[in-house]
Amino acid sequence: MNKIALFIPLVLFATLSLFLLKGLDRDPTELPSALVGEAFPAFSLPSLMDESLLSTDDFAGEVVLVNVWATWCFACRIEHPMLNQLAHQGVKIIGLNYKDQPQPARQWLEDRGNPYLFNIVDQQGSLGFDLGVTGAPETYLVDAQGIIRHRRIGVLDQAVWDREFDQRYQQLLSEDQ
């Protein structure tokens, strides 16, 4: 009995080490999203380019990316070429212009190219709040039924696309057809 008891601290230490080791690989900014698997929240907000009101009906029946961006967001500058490239490949991207001013936002799209089908103007951040947006950029993958399938906090680059989005996106597309 006593000899076995001597090993208890070692076992405890090993267990603790395992947990800590696992913790090293975790990215603490990757939050569990409350909305993955839920419907995209209902909204009624103006469009950036014309003054028409947009709602979830405007992208119902399509597999789309919803990209949260703003001109004040530095990382969005880095992300923008990737969005242009995806749009060029035929990915449907909808912009959510988050807590921004319309005029600089339009200028931004003129200067850097416009990868978006249309842009939802969320000046107060109300839709962002319902989505659980913590900042820009963020990207949501929404299926044809309007269900959020994946969420990315931070820059969407080629590596993230390959790792997190590509397979899901292709699968949703094939389901849709």
Binding site: P28, T29, L31, P32, S33, A34, L35, K99, G125, F129, D130, L131, G132, V133, T134, G135
Partner: protein
């Protein structure tokens, strides 16, 4: 604590000319004075922003955080309090958007049982170990009688005998 914050912020406000007041300044954001129709709501407000966690600047609660998102969340809490919502309703509303990550006091659910009850288990375990140690020390004291050499035994007997002779 909540009241102290308000008093401190009032004192600070008093020392600065209001023309220079910049609401974006980091110093002010955490000590903002929030107006409520009833004082009881303010108590609950400070209670809530103390125990809800900012999803952006992690490891800060809403009260300490200056992130725009926590300002939004605080404004939402204030609105919901004025709308006579219960604390539970407010928390559920925020959790449905920002996930359980934002609860510094997680709900007692199947996946948080370990978190809630493991400390009690560990205390019990510790008590067991101490109790076993203690009882084994006691038995070993009783079990291993000190062995005396014949010489020592004779001396002991002599001492005991002489003690009887001279009470």
């Amino acid at each position: 604590m909540g009241r102290l914050l308000v008093v401190c912020s009032l004192l600070l406000l008093g020392t600065v000319p209001s023309a220079n007041f910049d609401h974006r300044s980091a110093l002010w954001a955490s000590t903002e004075v929030v107006e409520f129709s009833q004082p009881a709501l303010r108590e609950r407000y400070y209670q809530l922003i103390q125990e809800l966690r900012c999803p952006k600047c992690q490891n800060q609660n809403l009260a300490d955080s200056n992130a725009p998102i926590s300002a939004d969340m605080k404004a939402q809490i204030q609105r919901m309090l004025e709308d006579q919502k219960t604390d539970r309703q407010i928390k559920d509303y925020l959790v449905s958007r920002y996930s359980e990550f934002i609860l510094y006091r997680p709900q007692v659910k199947q996946n948080t049982w370990f978190l809630w009850f493991a400390p009690i288990g560990f205390i019990f375990l510790g008590a067991m170990v101490i109790w076993r140690r203690y009882s084994s020390v006691k038995t070993s004291v009783q079990g291993d009688k000190p062995q005396l050499t014949i010489e020592q035994q004779q001396r002991l007997n002599k001492l005991l005998d002489s003690g009887e002779d001279n009470p």
